[in-house]
């Protein structure tokens, strides 16, 4: 079983549209939406039914204050390094901002009156869904919550077990934008990474940082240039970069509003028009990925 991971560095370069189309082209793969704080794959894959009951994801802690026990000594206020504690407007006791609270327990440890309790925090939900393309493992992180990396790791672990049971050859991970904690968790354990980039100064810059991240974690990557005709000069720079770094360029997809139309119809680019140039290019790219 191989894990193929799609990232981009820059948001909006077309990761999810490309991932969905590749997933359809694969015919027999499991997909994981690792962009847990803004997951989108399910919107197009539209789950037919839940394959497993949804699972609550708990991670970390949150502080709460018992006002009847608080002696208003202010210790907690001075210990919090996350700006999560503030004096109540009437100055009677400290208040905790649940979104800013990191769950570190510094206030809990500093409280002489034992007025602060730490409780485990529910930070998201995990779903395993049946879709027309196969099984989709996805999640929803509660808005504003952290621990997205841990949630991604858990999704990927579940996906591996399911793929083993169903004897699937491929898991396709759709990664989040950026190069921080959830992206690192997405990369971990991948057999091949594909960076979807676009020929814009931002796209090129962000692709290079994503590429450095792959090098840092010693994962092999290849590149897809999306919207390649938007700026042929930068497309050429990306091509030169791939030659210089000895990286496989899997394919180039033109800037075409059919991607937007497909999205609006909640279809993949292949479903939108299976004989289009873009649809053929996606199928070709999938064949190259299989040969990696």
């Amino acid at each position: 079983m191989k894990q193929i991971t799609i990232i981009s560095g820059k948001g909006g370069s077309g990761k999810t549209s490309v991932t969905l189309a590749l997933w359809q082209a694969s015919r027999h793969a499991l997909a994981v939406d690792c962009d847990v704080d803004a997951s989108n794959m399910y919107l197009i894959a539209s789950p037919i039914n839940a394959k497993a009951p949804e699972k609550v994801f708990k991670s970390g802690f949150i502080a709460a204050i018992d006002k009847t026990k608080c002696i208003n000594c202010g210790n907690c206020l001075s210990k919090c390094r996350f700006e999560a504690m503030s004096q109540s407007p009437n100055g009677e006791f400290p208040e905790i901002n649940e979104i800013l609270c990191e769950g570190c327990g510094a206030c809990f440890l500093a409280c002489p009156a034992k007025a602060i309790t730490m409780s485990e925090k529910e930070t998201g939900k995990i779903f395993v869904s049946t879709t027309r393309f196969g099984t989709l493992v996805h999640a929803r992180l509660n808005t504003g919550d952290g621990s997205s990396g841990k949630l991604v790791s858990q999704l990927k672990q579940m996906a591996c077990e399911i793929a083993k049971n169903e004897k699937l050859d491929y898991i396709i991970n759709d990664g989040p934008p950026g190069i921080g904690c959830p992206t690192i968790a997405t990369l971990t354990g991948s057999n091949a990474v594909i960076i979807v980039t676009e020929p814009t100064v931002s796209g090129l810059h962000d692709m290079k940082r994503a590429a450095e991240l792959c090098n840092h974690f010693k994962v092999k990557y290849s590149i897809i240039i999306n919207k390649h005709d938007l700026n042929e000069l930068i497309t050429k720079q990306i091509e030169e970069y791939s030659v210089a770094q000895n990286i496989l360029l899997l394919g180039k997809i033109p800037y075409n509003l059919s991607f937007v139309s497909a999205l609006k119809e909640c279809k993949t680019i292949i479903e939108h028009d299976s004989s289009s140039y873009e649809a053929r290019e996606i199928r070709t790219i999938w064949e190259k990925i299989k040969a990696l």
Partner: protein
């Protein structure tokens, strides 16, 4: 205007909706000096539009070297093994499981550490000292009337919020501050929008745009920050965002068109609001709306 600076964050939920383009456009449309803080420290892009005028990589490198730069580090513990008796109080004080005790010796996992300071405080033997671990850098430069600030997270570093909080603290003399936020709705987003007076949510009329907009709205409602919406890449036959805004009684600050020309100007590292005449007045209008709404 208020006695302190007006802080306007530009955020989106979904990546690639046009946050950076719009932050730059709004900042460039101001007549006064303004500050623009690029809080997308994982993939900062503002410098690409404000440091190199000719899209010339070597030129960019030269310009980058002229920035005022500073390393940024976070506090992590270092253990003095002669003072440590392996009591394990630090281990139980750490809610992130970043410390374990093997035999009588603490073992520390820096990638799990949130720099909360509990282990330093709780150690009864004073065996833990605070040491700095570099996680990125902060930079400052000037582009016309825009005072730019950004942060760059080191490659392989997982946690961006401490760096985001740091660049937002930079000394700023301007009355108007724009904050270009990272995508998503989790901790980096929260760190970027926190303490803003107003948030401009940039969205696009696609199912992805709408879905992620709803998530961002939910997060801002939880945080209690006022916001309005710019519909970017708008076309005539897409009312999904407008319908949503009407149903939720959310202010639409303006609309910007879906256009290949804008995408091409952006691709070259140019600010569409300055390059495309028809956009100039649009941006002026949107800026007026933003300031009016934010000052309410």
């Amino acid at each position: 205007m208020q006695d302190r600076a007006l802080r306007i964050a530009v955020a989106s939920g979904k990546g690639g909706t046009g946050k950076t383009t719009i932050s730059l456009g709004l900042a460039a449309s101001c007549d006064c000096e303004v500050t623009l803080i690029d809080c997308d420290v994982e993939e900062p892009n503002v410098h690409l539009f404000t440091l190199n005028s000719e899209n010339n990589q070597s030129n960019l490198q030269n310009q980058e070297n002229k920035c005022e730069r500073a390393c940024f580090s976070v506090d992590i513990p270092a253990f003095n093994e002669t003072l440590c008796d392996g009591c394990g109080i630090c281990k139980s004080a750490c809610f992130f499981n970043a410390i374990t005790i093997i035999g009588n010796t603490p073992l520390f996992f820096p990638e799990l550490c949130h720099s909360c300071g509990s282990c330093f405080d709780q150690c009864p033997k004073n065996a833990i000292t605070v040491v700095s671990k570099g996680i990125g850098e902060t930079r400052k430069w000037k582009h016309g009337k825009i005072n730019c600030i950004d942060g760059r997270l080191n490659i392989g570093e997982a946690k961006s919020p401490p760096l985001i909080k740091q660049i937002k603290k930079s000394a700023i003399n301007d009355n108007l501050i724009f904050i270009d936020c990272p995508p998503g709705t989790s901790c980096p987003f929260v760190a970027a929008v926190n303490n803003a007076d107003y948030v401009v949510l940039v969205t696009e009329p696609t199912p992805f745009g709408l879905n992620d907009l709803k998530l961002a709205v939910e997060a801002l409602e939880k945080l209690g920050i006022k916001f309005g919406i710019i519909i970017n890449k708008a076309d005539s036959n897409s009312n999904i965002i407008t319908d949503y805004c009407v149903s939720k009684n959310i202010t639409v600050l303006g609309r910007l068109p879906l256009s290949r020309e804008i995408a091409q100007v952006y691709s070259r590292g140019k600010i569409p609001a300055l390059e495309i005449p028809a956009l100039k007045s649009e941006y002026k209008k949107i800026l007026e709306n933003v300031i009016k709404e934010a000052s309410k």
